[in-house]
């Protein structure tokens, strides 16, 4: 039997701690497409129940939209399933590049790189563009994937109190000697639903020569007058250095890092970026 008792007991002990803390998450099994009305099996083995789904990220309901499903079928028919290599070996799909260009136009930036997930984008973007000479300064309530990405990066890191522009300015002054300064925030914070003050952050970044990265996963597609995201909502469209965003909210648009700046520069950075250089691209 794999997992001998000496090892198994360690994990059983950890599981018991999680149970005792009341934070163990039992999985619900969904037997239907994701939509406002779904069928779930919960607890496991029980009869199916029809319930209203109030907790999905599928804000626009596009994950089961007929046009999205048809486009996915068309993609499978014309290109098959799976990319067979990372994009730097066999090559990049023309339709991926077309999609990158359309995302770029939609979000008003200079270019876009697709990733299989926003977790991957956030896990890799920092190590690709920063070194130990640089500093990352993040809002204290950013998404967990950003924290993981910061942990993988050799740059120094600091935080500012949630949405406190005064504290952010103190930190920008404190780290004025760093080669590159990257301020990091969510556009819309997923746990509380509040919005970052991107207009003031752009001003501060301009004042102190810092870059601004916004994870707009909970905004792209429906925040702002035309759904471009938090930068449109805050009146700073076209002024964010890097945007990461997640597909599931918009469904049509895969996860991506969207950036201002010359593409060659970012491709160069991407060669040091494990999720870009060593991971197969989205199937289409």
């Amino acid at each position: 039997m794999s997992f001998p008792e000496s090892i198994r007991s360690i994990y059983q002990s950890q599981l018991a701690e999680i149970h005792n803390a009341g934070i163990f998450k039992e999985e619900r099994f969904i037997h239907s497409a994701q939509s406002a009305d779904i069928e779930v099996e919960f607890p496991a083995g029980s009869d199916l129940k029809k319930v209203i789904n109030m907790c999905a990220n599928n804000y626009l309901g596009l994950s089961s939209h007929p046009e999205v499903i048809k486009a996915a079928h068309d993609g499978l028919e014309s290109r098959g399933y799976g990319m067979s290599s990372v994009r730097f070996i066999c090559g990049t799909q023309d339709i991926h590049r077309e999609l990158e260009n359309r995302v770029t136009d939609f979000l008003g930036t200079e270019d876009t790189i697709l990733f299989p997930s926003c977790m991957d984008a956030n896990a890799g973007v920092f190590e690709a563009i920063l070194t130990s000479e640089d500093i990352m300064i993040s809002d204290r309530l950013v998404h967990a994937s950003i924290i993981d990405g910061m942990r993988l990066c050799s740059a120094q890191h600091d935080t500012f109190k949630h949405s406190s522009m005064e504290h952010l300015e103190e930190k920008l002054q404190l780290h004025a000697d760093k080669r590159l300064k990257l301020v990091i925030t969510d556009g819309v914070f997923s746990m509380d639903g509040d919005t970052a003050m991107l207009d003031r952050m752009v001003d501060l970044c301009d004042k102190y020569g810092a870059m601004l990265l916004v994870d707009d996963s909970h905004a792209t597609g429906f925040i702002g007058k035309t759904g471009r995201g938090t930068h449109e909502y805050c009146g700073v469209f076209g002024k964010i250095d890097i945007i990461t965003q997640l597909s599931v909210k918009l469904s049509e648009v895969p996860p991506a890092v969207v950036f201002q700046g010359e593409r060659k520069l970012w491709i160069c950075a991407g060669r040091r970026h494990v999720p870009t250089s060593s991971q197969t691209q989205l199937p289409r």
Binding site: I135, S138, R140, I147, M150, Q156, H157, D158, T159, K161, K171, L174, H175
Partner: protein
């Protein structure tokens, strides 16, 4: 830098920690309160405390010594600072 005794140093560090990291007025921090292991201070935010200590006490703490354990209470922070003040 003016001479400080241990208690004055502890009070200075305590004030900085409360101002920098503690948003909840109901949280009372003492010299012994575990800061990082209790979640009051995110280990990601330690760099600002490090910079504060180095600037205020005119010392240089090597990154290898600025560990979450060394920064886990006002007492341990002041003990660390004292090591480098004496050098």
């Amino acid at each position: 830098m003016e001479e400080m005794n241990i208690n004055e140093m502890k009070e200075l560090v305590l004030k900085y920690v409360v101002k920098e990291y503690i948003d909840d007025d109901d949280v009372k921090i003492t010299y012994e309160t575990p800061l990082i292991s209790s979640g009051y201070v995110d280990s990601f935010s330690m760099v600002s405390l490090l910079v504060f200590l180095e600037n205020r006490f005119k010392i240089k703490i090597p990154p290898s010594k600025a560990t979450p354990e060394a920064f886990d209470s006002v007492n341990s922070i002041v003990a660390l600072v004292n090591q480098y003040l004496k050098q």
